[in-house]
């Protein structure tokens, strides 16, 4: 039983990493969109965030599953599951990154402007690293949320920890031991992500990212 659950946890981890990686990439692009000047782009950003964030993951999963089928796009359950998580995560990540950028003190931006930094260097050297520092705690928050959200993917037959647990329960009827173990595995994964986040935070502090002093 435990081996099956650990295998399920591995599948969950793969889905989580895919969702977080894809969601981060898409989130960065979306957040950048929210700072562009043409209003249609900014409206498109807001609409996307409203929709992706306002839809329950379960509904989103079913929509993607049937949507892909209706468009006769044949993909495996893991790809479909990853797409769901990427869409869901990207909306939250985008807002997290937007918040990080908004938190950058105006003084830093002025300094960079007074040096005449070209746009790309301005983003790479100033905006991205400082915004990332401010965004880190809520970013970790969303990562944990995504790992747990992957459990609803069992509804579209993605075999992961929750589905593995349900299969075992069907055979053994040992509800509480199995669910308890599954919950412990989820907790372990989320705990690891949290620790990773804290360590990154500490490393960043050593490299000059101290909290703003008044």
């Amino acid at each position: 039983m435990l081996i099956l659950l650990v295998k399920g946890a591995m599948a969950t981890l793969v889905l989580g990493v895919a969702g977080i990686a894809g969601g981060t990439a898409l989130g960065v692009v979306l957040a950048a969109l929210s700072f562009t000047r043409p209003w249609p782009l900014r409206s498109a950003y807001r609409l996307y965030v409203f929709l992706a964030r306002g839809t329950p993951v379960l509904v989103l999963a079913l929509l993607v599953f049937y949507g892909l089928a209706a468009m006769s796009i044949a993909v495996g359950p893991y790809v479909a599951g990853s797409i769901v998580l990427v869409i869901y995560a990207s909306a939250f990540f985008a807002e997290v990154f937007r918040g990080g950028v908004l938190a950058i003190p105006a003084a830093q931006v002025e300094s960079a402007r007074s040096l005449g930094l070209p746009p790309l260097a301005f983003f790479r050297k100033i905006i991205a690293p400082i915004a990332f520092r401010y965004a880190l705690p809520p970013y970790v928050n969303v990562c944990v949320m995504i790992i747990k959200a992957s459990s609803v993917l069992s509804i579209i037959s993605v075999w992961e920890l929750t589905l593995a647990a349900r299969e075992i329960i069907e055979r053994t009827l040992d509800v509480f031991t199995v669910l308890g173990t599954a919950a412990a595995l989820y907790f372990l994964m989320c705990f690891a992500v949290d620790r990773l986040g804290r360590r990154t935070e500490r490393d960043l502090m050593r490299r000059g990212f101290m909290p703003e002093r008044a």
Partner: protein
Amino acid sequence: MIAIRGLHKRFPNGTDVLRGIDLTIDDGEIVALIGRSGSGKTTLLRCMNFLEDYDAGDIELDGATLWYRTDPTGRRVRMSESAIRARRQQMGIVFQQYNLFPHMTALENVYLGPCESQRRPVAEARAAAQALLERVGLGAKTGAYPFQLSGGEQQRVAIARALAMRPKVLLLDEITSALDPELVGEVLEVIRGLVLDRMMMVIVTHELNFAREVSHRIAYLSQGRIVEIGPPADIFDRPQDPTLKEFLRRVR
């Protein structure tokens, strides 16, 4: 040479901060702007490198008009962003709150601009940054992050960062106002060194003794105008304007 003509600026809330500033600054000249808070001296400085826009008037550097141009229909429009960036590099500014980049060491803060904005080779820019930090007395702290430096040290890094761009003018915005009194001296010492280099400077300051010591001319601003301007001896010892007399009486 800098020539400012008829500079007007109104804040979005309707206050007229600058009501027609005319000021010419020669190469190698140091002009101090004094006046009570709200008189427009910091805004004037910030307009000079376009951290603030302005509603009317011209700023010229060596005969070339900065920041705005006239389009074919005669309207006044902002220059392109790349033109603005290029011209900003000629106007170094040092801020009251240092504003160093917190995630970069002292050395990285100083060579970022030359590397990224002026495309100078990294090795050369680093060497120049090292030399500048030595010059401001921080040769041993090039690897320190801003949070590991005192206020005075951070401000000296900020001066080195501005100088690294080899600007034609240095704008100093109340650079000692945020410092503990015992740290003011080390920063002013660095500025004294620049005076000997005949660096063109515009200084906004509350340190009137320092202004008197280093400046060639003092401009007294009140309510968005330069009310009185002249050599330090005239301004401090023979003030004419009644509000200037009052201002000097209060700060002494």
